[in-house]
Point group: C2
Chain length 209, copies 2
C-alpha cells in the first residue's frame, strides 16, 4: 500500500522523549505526501519541508550521541546560541517542520472523520482549508495567504487523493481510510509531543513570513 502510510511512526516512550534518529527516518517519507496532491504547484512546499529535514539531520549527524533526542537538540542549541535562539539552527527547522506535520495530520484526520463539503462532496478543499487555518495561517502574512488561496485549487479531488495515498492500487476506499487511521495514531502522538516540547521549552515563535 501507500509509500508513506506504510512508514508508521514509532510509539512514544513513557518519557515522551523522541529519538532523533527514528524521527528523521520516519519524517523522511513525508515529503512524498505532497506528490499525492499531484501538482507541481506544491513543489516549493515539498522543498521547504525537505530543507527542514536536511537541516535537522545535519545537526544530528554532527554528533549523534549529543543530539540523541529532539529535546537534547533544543536544550543544547539554547545554550550554544544565546539570544539568537530559538530562531536558529535545528530548533528553527523543527519549529517550521512541525507546522507542516500538523497540516498533514489535520488534513488526514479530517478526511477519516468524513468531513465534507455537502455541495462538493468529492473535493478536499474544505479539509485543506481546515488544516491550513489551524496549522499555518497565523504564521503567514497576507501575501502568502493569498498564494495559498490560489494554490488550493490545484488540489486533487477526494477519490484521486485517496488513490494516490494508496499508490494508485485498486484498494477499496474504506481500506485506505483504515490505513490512514492506523497511521495517524503514532503520527499524531509524535506531532503533539513536539508541540508540547516547544511549549515547555518556550521555543515557539509567531513571526510572519
Amino acid at each position: 500500500m501507500a509509500l508513506f502510510l506504510d512508514q508508521q511512526f514509532a510509539p512514544l516512550p513513557d518519557t515522551n522523549e523522541i529519538a532523533t534518529k527514528t524521527f528523521l527516518e520516519s519524517v523522511s517519507h513525508l515529503p512524498h505526501f505532497f506528490d499525492c496532491l499531484g501538482s507541481k504547484v506544491f513543489a516549493p512546499i515539498k522543498a521547504d519541508i525537505n530543507g527542514n529535514i536536511t537541516k535537522i539531520k545535519a545537526v544530528y549527524d554532527s554528533d549523534p550521541v549529543k543530539y540523541e533526542t529532539l529535546q537534547q537538540i533544543l536544550l543544547i542549541e539554547k545554550s550554544i546560541y544565546g539570544s539568537e535562539w530559538p530562531k536558529v539552527g535545528a530548533t528553527l527547522a523543527l519549529m517550521w517542520l512541525k507546522r507542516g506535520l500538523r497540516f498533514i495530520q489535520i488534513l488526514l484526520q479530517s478526511l477519516v472523520d468524513g468531513e465534507r463539503d455537502e455541495d462538493n462532496p468529492d473535493l478536499i478543499r474544505i479539509n485543506i482549508t481546515k488544516a491550513y487555518e489551524q496549522a499555518l495561517k497565523r504564521y503567514h502574512g497576507w501575501i502568502v495567504q493569498k498564494v495559498f488561496k490560489a494554490a488550493q485549487y490545484a488540489a486533487p479531488c477526494r477519490s484521486d487523493f485517496l488513490k494516490a495515498l494508496s499508490k494508485d492500487q485498486e484498494v477499496a476506499e474504506e481500506e485506505c481510510l483504515t490505513k490512514v487511521r492506523q497511521f495517524l495514531i503514532n503520527f499524531t502522538a509524535t506531532v503533539d509531543a513536539v508541540y508540547e516540547m516547544y511549549s515547555v521549552m518556550n521555543a515557539e515563535l509567531d513571526y510572519l513570513v
Copy 2:
C-alpha cells in the same frame, strides 16, 4: 556596483552562435536578480531558474566539445531523443530559462524606459505585469496565473529595487539606470538569439504548467 549588472553578457559573433560556456557563466549571476526583489516569496522562482542552469551545465560538462554552442545542444539532442524532443533534456531547460530571461529583460527595459503607473509612481507592479504578460503568462494555467497575481504584491517599490540592483550603494538613480541600459545591450541580443534559435529549430512548445 551591482552584482549581476556588472557581469555583462558577451557580444554575439556574426554567426549568432552562442558559446555554451560563456552563456552559462553569464546566466549564473542572474538568479541574484530575484534576491533584488527582496522577498522569500520569490525563492521558488530562483530555484526553478537555478534548476534550468544546472541541467544545461550537466549536459555541457558531459562533453564540452560536442556541446560547444547552444545550437549544437539542440541539434544533437534532437537527433538523440527523437519524438520525445523538444520536451526533454537541456532543450527543455533552456526553453524555460529563456522565458525567465525574457521576463527580466522586459522588466528592466520597461524601467529604463521610464514606464510608470502615474497613480503609483514608486511601484514597479506595472513593469512586472508587462514583463509577465509578454514573457510567461501564456505558458501558465489559471492557477499559476492566480499565484502570480498574489505574489506580485511582494515586489519592492521602485527606489528600493534600484538600490538593490546597485547593491545598496549610494549611487544616484540615474547612474544605476545607465548601468542597466548598458547591461541590456548584449543581454537583449543574447535572449533574442536564443528565441530565434528555438523558432528556426521549431523547438518551441506552448503547453501550460
